[in-house]
Amino acid sequence: MSVKTSVFGGITISGNDAKAFDRQVTHGRPKQAARDSYARGKSLVDEFNRKGYATIKPKK
């Protein structure tokens, strides 16, 4: 049971951790926070794709 990872490489999961990952992927549902983050990112990516940079205002 382990997780092996390197900064610029892959992640290898084995043993009980692997079963946990399988369970989380199979039964997991996207979090609302991820949907919200994706939605907020639209204007940032639109600007980045158009201008080559995005204006980053702090999230309060």
Binding site: K19, P30, A34, P58
Partner: protein, 182 residues
Amino acid sequence: MPDALFLRPIRPGDDTGKFSLGTPEAQPLKSFLKKQAKDYHHKNVAKTFVLVDSPDDSRVLGYLTLVCSEIKNEASTRLDDCGDANKYTTFPAIKIARLAIHNDLQRGGYGRTVMDWCIRHVVENIMPHAGCRFLVADAKHSAVSFYKKCGFTMLESEEKNKQPIMFVDLHKLTASLPSAQK
């Protein structure tokens, strides 16, 4: 705190020397920015995006580094929406290899906005052209709550002292969106 910063790809002339994170634990993040980020970016090993005061300013105030990655699950992963892929144990991913904000600007909310950009950027600019089912991060323990607030799931590992693995299933994320948001 500035009202806004600007996120753009790192450039050869960027000033990385004054970047400070304030803790010895973060030394590898500081060292990477100073010694490797520019070279890795231009040689396509790892892509780094920096926060600066204005688009043409060179002093780096924060950065995000992305790489192609994979998740190998030795027990095999069952994708309930793509059964034929279940014969493989490895799935493609994009990894957040580095994320750091200058000491003076931490807890200002810039990191959250950078993550908004990152998730959308991966879905909109990378996923249409190369398979990447997951967005993953090797989080420090101190950053777990940050990634959870951004919508990441933490791998339920038995090894509590190891570096936590955080991930987003990008396909399920996009599949769950109302069509108007896609």
